[in-house]
């Protein structure tokens, strides 16, 4: 008998989709207990469209091929002292921020997708999530392996997991993912698969990685693009999730819209770190943060929201504010880190004159008006031997945990500040976006582990800031922190290059 030829869709359906069954002996709700509490209505899981139809055998085969290529590069990098090929030792600081701030998020993504990959009642969705889970594990592990050779030659990488759980600015990315994982399974998917993967990660993994290539960092661009090849699957999953939820029941629309609003805003706040990495930490420039934002959010995200309009989904709330902020956030973030450079686990510096000119050219509306004068002043102080560091601990936004540094887009010279009261306590925010998020779920955000509060409460050792940095954060003082100028990183680089 000649076997019928099966196409990819039918084959996948037969091999995978029919594995589950209707329970007869136990209550299915007890096996999948978290599907209902968020108010999302799923009437028929079988309507789930599998974004890609990878069976495990194909998965092993293609992923092994990717890994083989990737590790061949890592081996070559290590054997040939690849760290000497970066454009400028300042660049390596972007990689430090990546390992301490981003890689642990990949781990959280692995955990979160394992959770939903166990919890969803539909086998198609579960399998897609499980595959994303194992991919995310791949990402954290390849990142650690990619950055391991840097750790051997540069400071600031050495205790990345310990730092992620404690350091003040790392609570921005950590709280972002803690927030998503502590939400219900559908919120998690909208937060990570859709808002984060589909709308925002492209900004980190495409233009920033292209920038890594442009700065001679073979390991980072290789893991970045290799990871991104998985992300393309994840993004497609994100889009399928949204379409599925919206098609399942009209009552899902307002819930999903609320999550889109929340996670878009939270994502934008998180991305201010990436903006600064692009504009300030890549010595060889590929494109400005603003340009990247225009291509990867305004154009790509705009197309997406136009497509979703048929379901009654609109652009995320405060997208208009963000459109203005693209001219500002990278400058505000780098300035903040420059001012708190003694308390950062990587080096900061004043942009070179050529870089300042590049910023003026890329940000004609804002840079000369608001930001260049600060740098000119910092240059003057530095020349006088008075490189300044802010000594007061900053106030953090209760929601995004970024220090109060964003300005009001109606009046960009003024700090943006909001507050609200809950059960007799006052809470502080950087924006309407963050304040709205708090007001919607105050019981959640009153729990925020705010690093500055924790320091004041004596939960981080001390009593002085240097004690906290050294003993609680595990910084090697004088090596990990402070200005690039005069750092051991810079000294070693000079020695290597003169040898």
């Amino acid at each position: 008998m000649a076997a019928k030829k099966l196409n990819l869709k039918d084959k996948y359906k037969l091999l995978t989709r029919d594995l589950d069954w209707e329970f007869s002996y136990e209550d299915r709700k007890e096996a999948f207990p978290y599907e209902e509490f968020e108010g999302i209505k799923i009437t028929d899981w079988s309507k789930w469209e599998d974004p890609f139809r990878l069976t495990m055998d194909a998965y092993w085969k293609y992923q092994a091929e990717k890994e083989k290529k990737l590790y061949a590069i890592f081996d070559a990098f290590q054997q040939n002292n690849g760290h000497l090929n970066v454009s400028d030792p300042r660049y390596v600081n972007a990689v430090k921020l990546f390992l301490t701030g981003v890689s642990p998020l990949e781990y959280q993504a692995y955990q979160g997708f394992a959770h939903v990959g166990r919890q969803f009642g539909g086998v198609g969705a579960r399998v897609a999530c499980q595959m994303q889970s194992i991919d995310e594990l791949r990402h954290v592990q390849t990142q650690v392996h990619a950055m391991s050779p840097y750790n051997k030659f540069f400071d600031g990488f050495h205790d990345w997991t310990h730092m992620h759980d404690r350091v003040w600015y790392l609570s921005v990315p950590k709280s972002f993912f803690d927030d998503a994982r502590t939400g219900g399974p559908f919120e998690f998917l909208v937060a990570i698969s859709f808002s984060f993967e589909y709308v925002l990660t492209n900004l980190l993994f495409v233009p920033f990685m292209s920038g890594a290539a442009h700065n001679g960092d073979l390991n980072t661009v290789t893991f970045g693009f290799s990871a991104q090849s998985d992300e393309a699957r994840h993004m497609t999953l994100g889009l399928e999730v949204i379409k599925f939820l919206l098609e399942q029941h009209e009552d899902n629309v307002p819930i999903v819209q609320k999550w889109i609003d929340k996670w878009f805003w939270r994502g934008c706040r998180l991305l201010s770190l990436v903006g600064m990495m692009m504009d300030y930490m890549l010595p060889n420039k590929v494109m400005s943060w603003k340009e990247a934002w225009e291509v990867y959010f305004e154009e790509a995200g705009g197309a997406l929201f136009k497509d979703l309009a048929r379901y009654g989904i609109r652009m995320p709330k405060y997208a208009d504010v963000v459109e203005k902020e693209k001219e500002h956030v990278s400058h505000q973030a780098w300035w903040t880190f420059y001012a708190y450079g003694h308390a950062a686990g990587f080096h900061t510096w004043i942009p070179t004159d050529k870089e300042l000119d590049w910023l003026s050219e890329k940000y004609p509306e804002t840079f000369d008006k608001y930001y260049r004068p600060r740098w000119e002043l910092a240059k003057k102080l530095e020349a006088e031997g008075k490189r300044f560091y802010s000594q007061a601990l900053p106030q953090l936004c209760t929601t995004c945990q970024v220090p109060m540094m964003f300005t009001d887009m109606e009046n960009p010279g003024e700090l943006s500040y909001r507050s609200t009261e809950y059960k007799g306590e006052k809470y502080h925010f950087c924006s309407d976006g963050c304040c709205d998020i708090f007001k919607d779920e105050p019981e959640k955000y009153v729990q925020s582990w705010l690093p500055v509060h924790q320091i004041f409460q004596g939960n981080c050792g001390g009593p002085d800031v240097p004690d906290i940095l050294k003993d609680f954060y595990h910084f090697n003082l004088g090596a990990d922190n402070l200005d690039m100028k005069g750092s051991p990183d810079e000294e070693r680089w000079k020695q290597w290059k003169s040898a």
């Binding site: 085969k61 890994e67 990737l70 592990q141 650690v144 990345w160 404690r166 609570s171 955000y445």
Partner: protein, 328 residues
Amino acid sequence: MTIEIKTSTLEPVRQTFANLERRFGNKQATRYQEATYDVQATNNFHYRPLWQPDKELNDATRTDIVMEDWYALKDPRQFYYGTYVQQRAKMQELAESNYSFFEKRGLSSHLSDEVKASLVRHLIPLRHVEHTANLNNVYGSAYGYGTAITQALLYDGMDRLGIAQYLSRIGLILDGNSGDALSQAKEFWMNDPVWQGQRALCEKTLVIKDWFETFIVQDLVMDTLMHDLYYRQYDEWLNANGAQDVGMLTEFMRDWNRDVSRWADSVFKTVASESDHNKALMKGWVETWRGQTAEAMAPLAQELCGGSASLDDALAALDKRLKKIGLA
């Protein structure tokens, strides 16, 4: 003093990450170590899970097992993602060539009707059992503690999905890609008395709360019994009944079992030898589930291998394994 030797300027400042240095000293770490130890967050979580407010996000108390250091559960195979997928890719390459050889040569036409009927009735429904194993292992990965054990559980979970898909492919080979064998097998799984004990057991394992208990039931009790019944006894019966070629289609499962037992046994052994508390818990779980599982499989064992399968032999294999890991 000036140091002249040029190569000395390229000496590393440190050999490895600080967490690994604290554990193993200042020396080069392996890729497995870098990818595994202390990667999971342990402190200062921001919010309680809405879906489980009595626990932290990462919380060691989702099982009653207590470990001083969950990273004691290292994987003797040293599997991190890269080594895992490359190892499985080799296995799948072999499986792929076996499956295509089997299909191309039309080897299913050599099977007797009795064997074909048995494959559909007894082997193909195992895909649903493997799907349960997928969920049970992913459960441990999601709620377990420490990267050492949770990553290995995820690899195991994905393996089970792969095995479920291989079993499904055997069905498609038998029915010429119509899917009829799969529907028939599912009908047996859903309604035939021979499978109902097993199905009830699978459903029951899916509502266990303690992830380590799930791990014991699934990967120790159920897997050992199933493996002995199917990949030893049934395989022998197929060989004796002119169906030795089917062994090509289940070679992956046999190789896989060897690989995964090495890891699971090492974990069971380490946890049991950690404390009397752990050992007592594990023994209690084995006791609870050994009998139930045997009972659930009994009707199947009675029919399997033309009625000659021995559940006692399978139980003996389990007892031997329990002894090896210090739980007898």
